[in-house]
Symmetry: C2
Subunit: 288 residues, 2 copies
């Protein structure tokens, strides 16, 4: 673990989006003895998740409360977690009047998510803060290489995984989805703006309609895009992913080792074992 000793760094500001991942990261950082300031994003994070923890609600385009709290605490480092991944990113578009306060973000939208995220990173860094990746402050959240639970992928599953990784490699430059479902060496579904959960639900529907052969299982393959800034945009898998995979009758999940986040690995692996689904960390073609 290369994280500096507690106390050297000052408090860490977590800008928190949807899901349980921000809280898991907060707990891991706090367990190292470092103070964490929570800034859940209004309209994206769920109020009930923050009811029992000190926090400051912020809006994407109203940085005042965030800046005041950060300065008062002597915080120098910020992590964006769970917030600016799809589909949450689309919700920002609803609040058009707010967005107009930050013309550079609006401009960045035109170029896809990567540009938007770079714009947000720039804004943070221009305020003298350093943007860190969640995996830098809590490396435990990254998927390791190899099988995580008791269920192993078969040879057929491995062929599906290889095809899926190759598909994600060639489509990486398009700033599109980070996931694909491959079954029987056939690409069944490709994620774009709808998000991973909805793509998996589509596969469940294809199976319910008899459009996938009963004998064919299939795999969800997730990998970060090539050139992706890993400080804020790593793909993640969680309880909803495992549930969706089970419903879709898929055999398992292959996630880029060191390039995918798991919020609560122990619990997730146990629930995957329970429904006989594998989770494997794989080396993506474009990764070192």
């Amino acid at each position: 673990m290369n994280a500096p000793a507690a106390g050297q760094e000052g408090p860490l500001a977590l800008i928190c989006g949807a899901g349980s991942l921000p809280l898991a990261v907060a707990d891991l950082v706090a367990a190292r003895g470092r103070q964490v300031l929570l800034f859940p994003l209004q309209g994206i994070a769920r109020p009930e998740d923050y009811a029992t923890r000190p926090h400051t609600w912020i809006r994407i385009a109203q940085t005042g409360p965030f800046e005041r709290a950060v300065r008062a605490s002597g915080c120098k480092e910020v992590v964006l977690i769970g917030a600016l991944v799809r589909p949450s990113i689309w919700q920002l578009r609803l609040n058009w009047t707010t967005l107009r306060l930050l013309p550079r973000i609006v401009a960045a939208y035109r170029g896809g998510d990567d540009h938007l995220l770079s714009g947000v990173a720039k804004l943070i860094e221009e305020r003298g803060l350093s943007l860190r990746g969640a995996h830098e402050v809590a490396p435990e959240i990254l998927v390791p290489k190899g099988t995580l639970g008791r269920v192993q992928p078969t040879e057929h599953d491995r062929a599906d995984i290889a095809l899926g990784l190759e598909y994600l490699r060639v489509t990486g430059p398009f700033d599109v989805g980070q996931a694909v479902v491959v079954a029987g060496r056939h690409v069944l579904a490709v994620e774009a703006a709808e998000g991973t959960d909805e793509m998996i639900a589509r596969v469940a529907e294809l199976r319910a309609n008899g459009r996938i052969r009963a004998a064919t299982r299939g795999v969800l393959i997730k990998a970060p895009k090539r050139g992706q800034d890993r400080r804020f945009d790593l793909p993640s898998i969680g309880p909803r992913t495992v549930e969706g995979i089970a419903r879709a009758g898929l055999a398992g999940i292959a996630a880029a080792a060191g390039g995918t986040i798991i919020a609560d690995a122990e619990q997730l692996v146990q629930s995957a074992d329970n429904v006989k689904i594998f989770i494997v960390g794989v080396t993506a073609g474009s990764e070192p």
Copy 2:
């Protein structure tokens, strides 16, 4: 028009799948004075479409009735139209006992649609018949280059089209979908096993949920896969495509010129004009 004069060729057998395209092709071929034998596929073609025309129902794995009718008529040429494109192709999987009669087709399934179609083509050709493309016997069905109706794509639409064509070019080798929706230079949806209509419905849903900015229109881009055997697997656009595009709030349709089929161009262009949607035939990057 290079089609040989009527009378030289003998009757043409049309194996008919779903939709209005087989009947449109039948009418165009008959208008040249050539006899057409209709073989709608059971479970795929709609009985009411064939009620007023002579026809022989066939099953994918029961070739007896087809072979007898073809031999009796002196027919030497066969066209597969509308039948073996997704999602119809998946319905075949339901009839497992029937499929087992043709082990080679079953084997071909494992490699994706292209392999399946090659298998069917081989079976037909081994019976001494020649497999022709619908666009060879009725070239009027191909999308020409340029704008078809009164609505023109804007500069923004053209940028979306270029991005979509490039996406389809790099994913061509994966034997996956033939269509993509791009809006504001952002890939919103990628077609795989679900089919074009369902992918367009997904974009309508994204828009209804506010996940596409109101100002962003977007384009459906359709192109044949690289190396695709054009005798039976050209993408097509029809009335349902136009309806779906209008519902999804997209600006128009870009289809590979000479590589996409329109069943009834005149009627389709009129309904596209009515809802202010463009239809443009474009040159795909991988095309000559």
